[in-house]
Structures are given as C-alpha cells and as structure tokens.
C-alpha cells in the first residue's frame, strides 16, 4: 500500500483546517483558538495566540479592518459577525503578562539589513531577530514607526513595538538613509520596506509578490512600498523572514513547505442546531468589560467540520480525525510484528453504510476507506479471521448447498429471474415462495438462489468475492441473461457495483405496479425504515412507500433516512457493544412501528422488540411473524425454499445431504438458545461436536452425573458444548461457548 492510496479517501476532508475567518485574515490568525481562549477568560493564552500571529498585537487590534468579519459564519444564523477586534482590544487590556518570549536558539552569524523602520520593516526585522539572525535596521528618520507616527494612538503603538523588540537584539541605525544598495554589500540579505512612495532603488518593477524577491539577488522587498496594505505589510514580515532564512540556507528563494491550503478553508458549514445569539454591546466607552469580552468571544461557533463524527456512532466512539484514520490505515500495513496496529478494531467496526459520505460536505466516505483497509489486511494475511468467519461460512452454504438456479418450468430461458438473496429465504421462506409465485405468474420469471457476496465483500475477501461474481454471471447467462428482480437492497447494490451489465429491477416496484396486488395494512400509522443500501436507489424507496400507501398506512418520515440498522459491514462479532448501541438507536429512532424491506433490518428490530413488519407482509397480505428463526432454522428454511422451488421448476425432489449428526435431538432452553444466537453459535455445530465426541469418546466426562464436554476444532473457531444424554440420541445442552486461540501442545 502506498500512503497516497489511503489518504486519497480523505484528501478533501478539511477538519482541523483554519476556519473561513482565518482564511480571510492576512495573518492567518487562528481566530477559532483565539476566541475559544478569550471566551473562557484565558486572557494570557488568548494574547499569546494573537501575538504569535500578528507580531504587533496592539497595532493590529487598533487598525485592522477585520476582513475576518466578512467571512464569519455567525451571519448564517442571522446574527452580526463576531466583534473580533473589540475582543482583541479586551485581551490586550486583561492579559497580565505580555512579556515577549525569549528564543533559546543559538545565534546565527548571517547579517541582514532592513531598510525602513515602518511597520513592514519592523515586522521583518523582529521575525528575523527571533530566528537569531544579526539584523540591522536603517531608518532615515530618527525614530521608528514610519507612517504610523502621526496616528493619534501612536503612543500605544510605540509601546507595543518597544515591548516586542525587548526580547531580541536588533541594531537600529536612525538618521541613516540608504541611498545606494552598494552601501549594504556586507550584508547577506537586504529587505527593503521604505513605505508608500518610498525609495525602491529601481527594483519595484521586478518585485515578485509571491517570493518577495527583486531582480537583485539577496534583495527582498515588501510592505506599503509595494502597494500592499498596512496589515499585509506586517504579515509579509513573517513570510519574508521564512523566505530569507531558506535563501540563506540554500541560496534559493522558495516558500517553505506546509503552507496554508486555501482551497480547504473557504468552507461554510450548515450549523445545524446552532442558536442565534446577538452581538454583545460594550456597556462603557472603553470597550468590553471582562465579562462582555468573554460573552462576545463565546459567540464564536468554533466552525470546524466534524459532521461525520457527530453523525456516526462508530466514529464518535473512536474519535479520530478522518485524515488520521487514513494515515493509520496506511501505517497499520507497514507495522512490524512488534509494533501495534492502530485502527484494526475500528476497521472492523464500521457498518460501511455510506452515511458519513451522505453527511460530509465534501463527500468523504470513511466506510470506503475502511473497506479498502479490510481488503488490504486480507491480502496481506493480517486480518482477524474470526471476526467474519461466521458469515463467510454462511455464504459458503448459500452459494453451495443452498444454491440453485432455473428458468420457470418447461422453459429453457427467462426474461426475468427472482434474486431473493440469502437472508430473505433464511428468515422467511413464505416471502420468497409467495413472491416467486407472483413473479412467475406475472413475468414468467425464473429463480436464482445464491448470495450476492456481501459477506466476502465486508470481510475484505476479494478472491472469494470475485469467484462468486464469476459464478453468478455464469448462472445468469445460463438463464438467458434475464433481468434480475431484487428483494434486498444490499444485493442490488453489490450487483450495481460489480455486475453492472446485469439488468436489475426491485421486486417492490413490480409489486407496486401490479393491479393484482392488494396490500393490507398491519398498522394505521408507521414509518418506513429504509436500509442503508437503498440510499442510492430511490426507486425502491418510492415503491415501498407506494405499497404502504395503497394499504392505507399513514406514513411518517424518520428524521434520518437510510441509516444502517447495525447489520452492515458485519461488525457484530468485532464490536458487540457498538452493535448494541447502534441497533438500540435505530429501534428508538421513530415512535411509530416500522415497515422495513430488508430481512436484516427486520431481524434487528424484532430482536429489539420494536414493532415492525416486512413490506412483503403488507404487499402479500401475510401475517407478520415477530419471531426470529434460530441459526439452524434459518439453514433449514433456505433448504426448504430450494426444495420447493426445485420441485416446482424442475420437478426434482431435492434431498439435502444429511450428515449423521443432523438426526440428533438437542434440548436447549430459551435462555441458552438466546445466548447462542447472540454469539452466533449454531445448534448444528453443537450436534456435530456431540456426535463426534460420542462416536469416538473424544470428550471429557464427569462420572458423578454423566455430564460430558465436547470440543469441536474448526479452522478458525473452537466450539465447546457441555451436555447430558437424556434419551437415546437426545441431549440436553447445558452450555455452549467458543474461543479463537488454538493449542500448540508442548512437552
């Protein structure tokens, strides 16, 4: 993996970048940080931010014309922009310790001459002196201040200049007019800042605004002499000091890297939920009191994006900046065996539902980044296989023993074929059989039982996904390249992504368009819970609403649509707590019962006790079943669907392979059954464990009451079951558990 491969996903993210006000400020003052500190009454800290950015804070606080206010986002709420300069004035009054910092770096021997002791020249001189260069300032008048001298508040400015220069050494030569630059040949660099209309030694024409260079090597120029404003001139002093430093080190004038990225700072946010607060008026003529300044500073909205983090439970839990995540996706792949990977858990905790992308103002998709990370980890063999093992085994079943495809009876091919997906038939065979009947009658549809590959996709298993795609294409061609009819938005989405050549339509659209369908209302009022995978397919959303409407259900819209129910990305094993939080939040998102159109959503809500029905119950007038089948029942449901459809289309009696252990009877109480379902332990695995133990005596045994303990070592997971035989081939299960570690026997 290259760093850019990961960071490309979050390249547009601007979280942590300067806000729009800073973008407008000639000094790039971090207004957000400044106002945050001032708002808390931390005057010294606020002063330091102001001083470090503006060089001469008293001059700037008095004279800046505040372009920041033009870009303040407060007005989006109908308020006046923050009175930044008035807060600056207050900070200068209330910050007790304003002594400049002294710079503990060794002195340098390069000498720089600054021509002109106006604000621009002074700023450059001060910034160079802070870098410990030997600086001499030549001023034809006998004092500093330049164009500011006549100003009524010059005494304040004078004091500020003196204060800022008090911690550095600079040689001031007053009354020393430079007439010819030859006088300065002994200096390693020269900065000319003689003020508006001042002498430019004939170099003004050649001035480069970006690099502040002139046609004479060593000679730089800036300030009002070059037509910039007073504030820009002071700000240029900071840049000039950096450019000159690089020039003295390398002999070339270039801008140091890490400069301000303007493109990222112009963003305005929507400030959802922020309230209007009016401008604070100063009660006296001398500006804000401490309390007033704090209140005004606290009006700052602290504009920074964090929409995805606020919107997503997973991102809120891990609280990492998107660009940091991208960086760590990369560094995790470079980790050596002794270092720790940083975002593994987060990688496998993402629903990959695309909600972050839908709220992000610049469309960053962190799910796509983490999906990318999963695939990279799988390729490198550093994926924790146990986190996805259950679903990959389930996919193996759905695409193996559970798979089947056929045109309708007596036909070699078909124009339509139903693609119910693996979960619908597992959770409710009636939904599939009845829907197929409808499609067969209305469209002469065939059937394809398989799995779209979502488990492989979410596990990052590209090889398995690719193999499944090829097999699916082959099946589809065998049916005569029909339009596939989808009941599951996840299937539909994966087909759109990986097999776009296959024509698609949703079952719900066909049902909604049909005259023969008479939907029945299960509730008078309900909310449609749209699955995350349907976000990009509005035809499904519309058809479902249409069907519910025909049934006479009064629909209410949820505040947030297309949120993942929790099932997406298969995070349940990787992060059970988060899964629990997400499913609870979704169940509580609406007070009315839900109408869903995804078998996984239905299962999540049924287990949460949230009243909910599948739209197929509504459309087909079925009685909704509030139970969720066990894992073993799901498997049997899938096989039953296959058996019935094989009979119906091919007149073949399908007999699924029955392993010896399937004839065992297990007695499992409700509590244990529930625990097993939560841990994704199937009774079928326990049967196999018991059968193997009983036939080989490979088990532990407690003579006192005849209890046995059997282990079943699967490639990824080791299952254990404690049980007792209560009748021939009938076992009462006492507990079931698993672990992922394996034994390496040692003598």
């Amino acid at each position: 993996m290259r760093l850019e491969d990961a960071t490309a996903y979050t390249a547009e993210c601007f979280r942590g970048e300067p806000a729009s006000c800073s973008w407008a400020c000639p000094f790039r003052l971090d207004v957000r940080s400044f106002l945050d500190k001032a708002g808390k009454g931390r005057w010294a800290a606020a002063y330091k931010v102001l001083r470090d950015a503006t060089v001469f804070p008293a001059i700037v606080a008095a004279l800046c014309d505040q372009p920041c206010r033009e870009h303040c986002q407060r007005p989006l709420l109908g308020d006046e922009p923050i009175a930044v300069r008035d807060v600056e004035g207050a900070v200068l009054r209330y910050a007790k310790d304003r002594r400049p910092q002294s710079y503990a770096i060794p002195p340098k021997d390069r000498r720089i001459a600054v021509v002109g002791a106006g604000p621009a020249g002074l700023s450059t001189a001060l910034n160079l002196a802070q870098k410990r260069f030997r600086v001499a300032v030549f001023e034809k008048r006998d004092a500093w201040g330049g164009a500011l001298r006549p100003h009524p508040r010059f005494a304040e400015f004078d004091a500020d200049i003196a204060l800022q220069f008090s911690a550095v050494e600079v040689g001031f030569r007053f009354g020393a007019e430079v007439r010819d630059l030859d006088e300065l040949v002994d200096f390693d660099a020269v900065y000319v800042a003689t003020g508006a209309g001042g002498g430019s030694f004939g170099l003004l024409e050649s001035w480069d605004r970006g690099l502040l260079t002139t046609s004479m090597p060593k000679v730089f120029m800036g300030g009002e002499l070059c037509g910039v404003t007073l504030m820009e001139g002071i700000a240029q002093g900071i840049e000039a000091s950096k450019i000159i430093e690089v020039f003295l080190q390398t002999g070339r004038a270039t801008r140091p890297p890490g400069e301000y990225d303007k493109a990222k700072c112009g963003h305005y946010l929507d400030h959802e939920g922020a309230v209007s607060v009016p401008l604070v008026q100063a009660s006296g003529p001398d500006g804000y009191t401490e309390a007033e300044a704090k209140a005004e500073a606290a009006r700052c909205l602290q504009c920074d994006c964090g929409k995805c983090i606020a919107a997503c439970e997973m991102l809120s839990r891990f609280r990492k900046d998107p660009r940091q995540i991208a960086l760590e996706v990369y560094t995790d792949m470079e980790a050596n065996p002794f270092s720790t990977r940083a975002v593994t858990r987060e990688t496998y905790s993402c629903n990959i539902c695309g909600y972050c992308r839908s709220v992000c103002p610049v469309g960053v998709d962190i799910g796509a980044l983490l999906q990318f990370s999963r695939a990279a980890r799988m390729r490198a063999g550093v994926h924790p296989a146990a986190l996805h093992d259950f679903w990959l085994r389930d996919m193996d079943f759905a695409t193996g023993e559970g798979a089947f495809a056929s045109p309708p009876r007596g036909r070699p091919a078909c124009e339509y074929a139903f693609y119910p997906g693996c979960q619908l038939r597992a959770s409710n065979p009636e939904h599939v059989l009845r829907s197929y009947e409808f499609l067969r009658q209305t469209r002469g549809a065939g059937i394809t039982l398989g799995c779209c590959g979502a488990p492989a996709y979410w596990a990052g298993d590209e090889a398995r996904l690719q193999a499944n795609i090829e097999e699916t294409r082959r099946q589809w061609s065998g049916l005569g390249r029909p339009t596939l009819v989808f009941a599951c938005a996840t299937c539909e989405g994966l087909f759109r992504l990986f097999m776009p050549e296959i024509p698609r339509v949703s079952l719900y659209e066909l049902l909604a368009d049909s005259e023969t369908i008479r939907p029945v209302a299960p509730f008078a009022e309900a909310a449609v819970f749209d699955p995350c995978a349907a976000r990009d397919d509005h035809s499904m959303e519309a058809a479902v609403r249409n069907l519910a409407g025909k049934a006479g259900v009064a629909l209410e819209e949820l505040k947030e649509r297309n949120r993942c129910c929790g099932h997406g990305g298969h995070i349940r094993i990787a992060n059970p707590d988060l899964y629990d939080e997400i499913t609870r939040n979704r169940a509580e998102a609406g007070a009315k019962p839900y109408i869903v159109y995804c078998a996984n959503c239905r299962e999540v809500f049924a287990l949460r006790g949230k009243e909910c029905v599948h739209i197929l119950d509504v459309a087909l007038g079925l009685t909704a079943d509030s139970r969720v089948p066990t894992l073993e029942e799901k498997r049997n449901n899938s096989l039953r669907v296959k058996r019935e459809l094989m009979k119906q289309t091919q007149d073949i009696d399908f007999e699924p392979e029955r392993r010896e252990w399937e004839s065992l009877t297990l007695v499992i109480d409700d509590e244990l059954q529930k625990e097993m379902e939560e841990k994704l332990i199937s009774a079928l695995d326990l049967k196999e464990a018991i059968w193997r133990a009983e036939t080989s005596c490979d088990k532990f045994y407690d003579e006192s009451d005849g209890t046995s303990l059997a282990g079943l070592v699967r490639p990824v997971i080791t299952y254990w079951v404690q049980y007792r035989e209560i009748a021939p081939d009938t076992y009462e299960v006492q507990s079931a558990y698993y672990h992922r570690m394996r034994f390496e026997r040692e003598e």
Binding site: T344, C697, F700, Y701, T718, H739, M741, E744
Partner: protein, 65 residues
C-alpha cells in the same frame, strides 16, 4: 453443580486432568498458560469462564495489535 467443582476425566484415557503449561497461539502470537490436560493423551480442557474471560481478553488484545 458448579462447573468448578466438577471432576473431569478424559473419556478415552479414563484419567483425571492435571494442570499443565500449554502454548496457545492466535494470529501469529503465542501465549503460555497453565490448563487442565489429560496426562496421557494431552487433550486440553477449556472452561466457559476461561474461554469467555481471560482467553477472550487476550484474543481481543491480539486482534487489536
């Protein structure tokens, strides 16, 4: 009967289990731990408490690595 008070025997060897240092591996890392084992055939016993407690903790730590 509480799990801890059971006297497990290896069914094949008819031996009571004895504690033995066992090496466990996960995701390329190994950890040694004292586990009840059949003294004859070496079959290792893992209790629910161990699997869902300490072992699961270590598994998660190693997954996060």
């Amino acid at each position: 009967m509480a799990a801890g008070t059971r006297v497990w025997k290896c069914c094949r060897c008819d031996e009571e289990l004895v504690p033995k240092k066992t090496v466990l591996s996960y995701l390329g890392h190994t950890v040694a731990h004292e586990l009840l084992t059949c003294p004859k055939c070496g079959k290792v016993y893992v209790s629910k408490e161990l699997a869902e407690g300490k072992m699961s903790e270590v598994e998660q730590l190693l997954e996060d690595k």
